[in-house]
Symmetry: C2
Subunit: 213 residues, 2 copies
């Protein structure tokens, strides 16, 4: 998260991060409607963000792996628009927003970094709109696996093999399809020799094949 800061600036960011917090699997770090005070960075584990329609239907709107930022959905009106729920026992760094704002006014590169973060989320979400709006079920699942794989690689983990702590239902919700269709699609990918799945453990066997789906 703190990329591109000079040596003398890093301590200031560190001073900002008051506390770390641990969140149990299934527990909410914040809920839709909660006051927005902090931005978070996932330190270990992973989380999902969930948004609710007024009739109660819920949709997973995001997945956050270790190292990724969380909580930006509260900036628009000082109240969180979605809930953040831990997919496994996780820890997050807490960054008080008001302090971060001040720091962004003082330090150029800090402002730059926050802007990039916001911009990335905007582009990521637009990309997900594309996935939901124009891809078939197969394409959606493939795109999702490739996205997670790539994000794993970015953080120095294996891009070929990883644990996805989401349930099939979470994946389905995120990808706009039912859990059965997710399951069937994964099975089909396995038969075609594209991946190898055992429940939540996923290994990408044929990367290029998956990209061609």
């Amino acid at each position: 998260m703190p990329q591109g800061l000079s040596p003398d600036e890093l301590p200031k960011l560190e001073a900002l991060i008051c506390t770390a917090r641990s969140v149990q699997r299934g527990e909410a770090l914040y809920r839709s409607g909660d006051r927005f005070d902090n931005i978070y960075a996932v330190r270990s584990g992973s989380m999902k963000t969930v948004m609710a329609h007024r009739d109660g239907r819920e949709q997973v709107t995001g997945l956050r792996l270790a190292g990724e930022a969380l909580g930006l959905d509260g900036m628009s009106d000082d109240v969180h628009a979605c809930s953040a729920v831990a997919l496994e026992d996780s820890t997050v760094c807490i960054v008080p927003y008001s302090a971060l704002k001040s720091l962004c006014r003082e330090i150029n590169s800090m402002q730059e970094r926050l802007h990039k973060l916001l911009g990335e989320q905007i582009v990521r979400e637009a990309g997900q709109m594309m996935v939901l709006g124009s891809l078939s079920a197969d394409e959606r699942v493939a795109a999702f696996l490739l996205d997670v794989s790539q994000r794993n690689a970015q953080r120095g983990y294996s891009s070929a093999e990883f644990n996805l702590r989401m349930t099939r239902e979470d994946m389905g919700s995120y990808l706009g399809m039912t859990l059965e269709t997710v399951s069937r699609t994964l099975s089909r990918f396995q038969k075609r020799g594209l991946i190898d799945t055992q429940g939540k453990h996923i290994r990408i066997v044929d990367l290029e094949g998956l990209q061609r789906v």
Copy 2:
């Protein structure tokens, strides 16, 4: 756009806005891949933002009415992630990003305003992900009409009656369905007495009915 600025700050914003630019119907204000230099505000007319998949498929990712901000998709990596195309002859205000950044460091409320703008887009897009991921065709169209209606009201125009300059194809793309399904859905809404359409002109007859869809 410049809400919440004090009287002495407004001139500074105005100084920032170097030029206005007019964009002809169908013309692109910027294209995906263009360098990101400016943020824009639609002054008159309306625009769509479009994102392309690598295989060429395009999806409409946003609609911007007069008064709304545009161009934020370039902040993440200094290159625009989508294209902005005029739906009718339009004009936009140009706000140079680098100057805006400086101003945000000087003026508290300016920073606040930009952050809100970014936060709003993040929440708006998450909302659209919900629409695409969990609503039926009928519900999508209804949600879209209500959204446009509400945004019209916000800007002081009629919430009950408006011109939608998008084609059925644009709407379909934005809502993740085919133009035929959009057309059929609108016809059905009309038969049910919810709306009254003549091509691009739309009148909402039964607001509550539309909300119940």
